[in-house]
């Protein structure tokens, strides 16, 4: 499936203004909470104050007696319908409402359904729950100690707190590499728990029609089709009687992939009561109970020759999964794509050992703007590479260059089994260095040090792997990760495109229309893009892991080409020429050598309904399910300059240069928007975002006063640049881009702060790199003022 035609692009590469914006700037977006149904009830959730406790009793009588309360739902009631537990997207189980124990602070214990949201909240205070607190397990290390309290005593055969043990790579080859090494450099680091925290929280409206038993569930879901199937499995509802509608979504970043208890309870409540039930999560509920991200404890060892050539990589990772293993990720890979940890480097041998442990925290983890845990992998290798460079006395940039996979090595098979489709890492690095003025900066850094100022330069050269996936390797709960596009061309030359993916702000209504425009010559304003309604779109796995363009984008291009083939036959009939004698110029079919004898695509489409060749079926419509032959591998180099205030330990990015290569850019304006958003979240992780817990398992970071998100005031300026290395297997040569910047940039920011202090021997600062941590390091080095 090579990149189509050499014709110059008409619509790809154009910064078409977004079609979706008109409704949003008018305040006419249609988000979940904006939907109101007749006779709708409101649900709110009572959450556990304890991280680990036995439930002795729940008394709901006072709540039930409150005027306006329609029902109080407890785990016991759900258990009668076999709904107290549900499967997670990684095949584990998670409580819908607690029955035996609570296993995290914020766990769902009971729900009130009432005539108004205010009454529903009032009633929560009238529910009395008697808890017997148990010792909380708050770290994966503690979880795996002998004698640690057993968290999942509900699971038969589960005797300890281990979730999984998973290895990747070649142990023997790696051992050999380390035996031969002149030098081994190690880095131990922790990628702390953070949260995607989209500005709109999660929510749903479940509307089960008592007459037909049909359930229409409006839901903030990034993956409505998968959710429909999971609901069929959880609730035992026939799948044709479930319709999931994802309306406009106020950001997702991975948070809106999983199934949450609120969705299930609202649906059960609607089924039992026979009225629509709305549940809107509050921010605290969002931050303490829904899919967190990261929480990986990692150690990497790099085996090197005396010249600095990499021979092998060993990685150990321990993941804090919370009380349920709920990652949305391919079932084959227990730690997601963390084994992409060899990154951009030609590593002949690698071996990765990963373990997951249950703790008394929210279930997870989701990949926050990340392709299945690649963010953690990229962070580790890019931090380790910098440490190694310091240890062997090489410039980190030259050390990278020496060990890069070279442009002529693609397609490149990595030591952990990925086949990188394409890349030119040196070109991206060079461009970043040139743009930031690397050589001069190193001089300036020296001068600054002499003057007593601390400047740091951090670089990260990341490789992403996005677009799951080839169905042979990638699935969610066994459902293969293909995606789909249905294209219908209307008689008057307009189009409707229906997709199985779901935008949360990525601009699909514009980008995907442009793909149709490119292939068929119908302008984007004439292409209506529909997503998110499972009754009206073909099956797809949804939008996350930067997969929409690689999968649904491929499907869109291919179905458009199929329709163009049929259109060509119709055009031949209209022009009384043979198909071979027709040229396609992007908008018209013209007779070779007689360009005036031509039919526009609109004329041909009209003929598909009015003037067909003998024997041809009417219409121009079709569906394509696209199973990509491989992932796509975007890459780039981010370079950051920071300055540290020696008095306070505060650090500030002075420059952020980002070179991204995501192959062919469909809409550069949207691509750049994605990159800037990702850089901001990457900066946030490096500098401030943190979900942490005290020893009793109380979540610290449960609202926006404790969980810090950068505002316009803290967010740095970005300088964006690009190189273009098309994906050789994607129909339009595109790769995903939504997550590159969150994957690549945290390491660049941390590398920069560490670099400012490298001369006094600092090798590591843990994220979030807050000023107190920097000040400690300054103080230890005698640099604090």
């Amino acid at each position: 499936m090579a990149v189509d035609e050499q014709r110059e692009h008409k619509w790809l590469g154009k910064s078409v203004k977004r079609k979706e914006d008109e409704r949003f700037v008018r305040g006419r977006g249609n988000y979940l909470d904006d939907i109101k149904l007749p006779r709708m009830l409101h649900m709110s959730i009572l959450r556990s104050p304890y991280a680990h406790a036995r439930i002795l009793s729940i008394d709901t009588s006072r709540a039930e007696a409150l005027e306006g309360v329609v029902a109080v739902v407890t785990g016991e009631l759900l258990a009668q319908h076999n709904l107290a537990w549900m499967p997670t997207l990684s095949g584990d189980t998670q409580a819908v409402l607690a029955t035996d124990k609570v296993r995290m602070q914020g766990q769902e214990v009971a729900c009130v359904v009432a005539e108004s949201p205010y009454i529903a909240h009032d009633a929560l205070e009238l529910i009395e729950v008697d808890y017997e607190p148990l010792q909380a397990v708050t770290s994966p290390q503690q979880a795996l100690e002998a004698g640690a309290p057993l968290i999942r005593d509900d699971k038969e055969g589960q005797e300890d707190n281990r979730v999984y043990h998973w290895e990747s790579g070649d142990l023997e080859a790696t051992d050999r590499a380390f035996a031969e090494a002149d030098r081994v450099v190690s880095l131990e680091t922790f990628y702390p728990r953070c949260h995607p925290a989209p500005l709109e929280c999660c929510g749903c409206i479940a509307d089960v029609d008592p007459a037909t038993s049909r359930a229409t569930i409006y839901m903030t879901s990034q993956a409505p089709h998968v959710i429909r199937t999971v609901f069929a499995l959880v609730a035992g509802l026939p799948e044709h009687n479930i319709r999931i509608v994802s309306p406009d979504i106020g950001g997702g970043f991975g948070n809106k992939v999983p199934v949450y208890p609120g969705y299930v309870v609202a649906t059960a409540a609607s089924l039992l009561i026979g009225r629509p039930v709305k549940w809107i999560e509050d921010r605290t509920g969002n931050l303490i109970s829904t899919g967190f991200a990261r929480d990986f404890h990692m150690k990497g060892d790099l085996a090197l020759t005396s010249e600095g050539k990499m021979l092998g990589l060993r990685v150990k990772m321990l993941s804090d999964q919370g009380y349920a293993y709920a990652d949305a990720q391919p079932s084959k890979f227990k730690a997601g794509l963390f084994h992409l940890v060899t990154g951009s480097y030609d590593l002949p041998a690698a071996h990765i050992v990963t373990d997951g442990a249950y703790t008394n925290k929210a279930p997870g983890g989701v990949a926050y703007r990340c392709s299945f845990r690649i963010t953690e992998a990229s962070f580790l290798i890019e931090r380790l590479v910098q440490s190694a460079a310091y240890e062997i006395g090489m410039d980190p940039v030259e050390f990278r260059r020496l060990n890069f996979i070279k442009a002529d090595q693609f397609p490149y098979e990595s030591a952990t089994g990925f086949v990188y489709d394409s890349g030119d890492y040196e070109r991206a690095l060079d461009l970043a260095l040139e743009q930031i003025g690397y050589a001069e900066l190193r001089e300036e850094q020296k001068r600054a040090r002499e003057e007593g100022r601390l400047i740091g330069i951090g670089v990260a050269s990341f490789t992403e792997a996005v677009g799951a996936g080839p169905s042979k390797d990638y699935d969610i709960l066994g459902i293969k990760m293909f995606d789909s596009a249905e294209l219908r061309l209307h008689p008057t030359g307009k189009a409707i495109l229906k997709l199985g993916v779901k935008s949360q702000g990525q601009g699909h209504e514009t980008t995907f229309a442009q793909i149709v425009s490119e292939e068929l010559g119908i302008p984007p304003e004439d292409v209506h893009v529909v997503e998110g309604d499972t009754d009206n779109t073909p099956y797809g796995l949804g939008t996350y892991a930067s997969r929409s363009t690689p999968t649904a984008g491929g499907a869109t291009a291919l179905i458009a080409r199929t329709l163009r083939e049929k259109a060509k036959r119709i055009a031949a009939h209209l022009l009384e020429a043979s198909e071979e004698d027709l040229d396609w110029d992007g908008e018209r079919f013209a007779v070779k050598g007689a360009p005036d004898r031509a039919k526009t695509i609109q004329e041909v489409i009209f003929a598909a309904y009015t003037d067909l060749p003998e024997g041809m079926d009417a219409g121009l419509e079709g569906v394509k399910y696209y199973d990509p032959p491989n992932l796509t591998f975007p890459f780039g180099t981010y370079a950051v300059v920071v300055e540290i205030d020696r008095g306070t330990g505060q650090w500030k990015p002075i420059r952020v240069v980002a070179v991204d290569d995501c192959g062919v850019r469909i809409n550069p304006m949207i691509v750049e928007g994605q990159i800037m958003g990702g850089l901001t979240e990457g900066y946030a992780m490096a500098a401030m975002e943190l979900i942490t817990f005290d020893e009793d398992g109380n979540c610290i970071g449960s609202n926006f006063m404790d969980y810090l998100i950068p505002t316009a005031w803290e967010t740095p300026h970005f300088e964006l640049h690009e190189t273009v290395t098309p994906s050789p297997h994607h129909p339009i040569g595109a790769k995903g881009v939504g997550e590159s910047a969150t994957v690549g940039s945290p390491a660049a920011f941390v590398n920069a702060v560490v670099d400012a202090l490298a001369h006094v021997g600092v090798r590591n600062l843990e994220m979030p790199v807050t000023s107190d941590k920097v000040w400690e390091a300054l103080n230890e080095a005698g640099l604090a003022q």
């Binding site: 203004k17 977004r18 979706e20 914006d21 008109e22 409704r23 949003f24 700037v25 008018r26 305040g27 006419r28 977006g29 988000y31 909470d33 904006d34 109101k36 949201p117 205010y118 925290a197 989209p198 500005l199 709109e200 929280c201 406009d248 979504i249 106020g250 950001g251 970043f253 509050d282 921010r283 605290t284 949360q504 702000g505 990525q506 601009g507 304006m669 949207i670 750049e672 928007g673 994605q674 800037m676 958003g677 990702g678 850089l679 901001t680 979240e681 609202n703 926006f704 006063m705 998100i709 505002t711 316009a712 005031w713 967010t715 300026h717 970005f718």
Partner: protein, 159 residues
């Protein structure tokens, strides 16, 4: 309690619970759903509206406090069927992605332009720093405000 409030130039009188938040009055009673809710600690600014021309967070303001006052929401930005320059600016400069923060961002920016028709980048960043955007990284929001400053005669944020 009975309140009388002018919202986007239209007078409303309503009987409300004393504890009703202004944001719920706007969204649920008046069905002006362009004003959003993103947090429960007055941190995100998604609920921002203009009270007599000044931005306030309507999630931390009681409907009864708005008695006798004039409110402007995103739905009131449009004038005679055409977009306010700030709305145009957000479209032109790709100042929004998911759009959830956008109504509030535009209102804060419109209020800024009223007071300061040619703000510096720093002034813009400061003015919008009570509002979180999780998608854009703010650069294009700043550009959107600059676009509006350059292209629109700022109009008195009539309420």
């Amino acid at each position: 309690m009975k309140i009388e409030v002018t919202v986007n130039g239209v007078e409303h009188s309503a009987e409300v619970e004393p504890r009703l938040l202004l944001v719920h009055f706007l969204r649920d009673s008046l069905e002006l759903t362009g004003t959003h809710i993103g947090c429960d600690t007055t941190s995100c600014g998604a609920c921002t509206v203009l009270l007599d021309g000044t931005p306030i967070k309507s999630c931390t303001f009681l409907a009864v406090q708005a008695n006798g006052r004039a409110i402007k929401t995103v739905e009131g930005l449009i004038r005679n069927g055409s977009l306010h320059p700030i709305q145009q600016g957000f479209k032109e400069e790709h100042g929004l992605q998911c759009g959830f923060c956008t109504p509030a961002m535009m209102l804060v920016s419109a209020a800024l332009l009223e007071e300061n028709p040619q703000p510096s980048e720093e002034e813009i960043r400061w003015a919008i720093s009570g509002n979180i955007c999780r998608c854009t990284g703010y650069v294009n929001i700043v550009k959107a405000v600059q676009w509006a400053a350059a292209n629109g005669q700022s109009e008195r944020a009539q309420t």
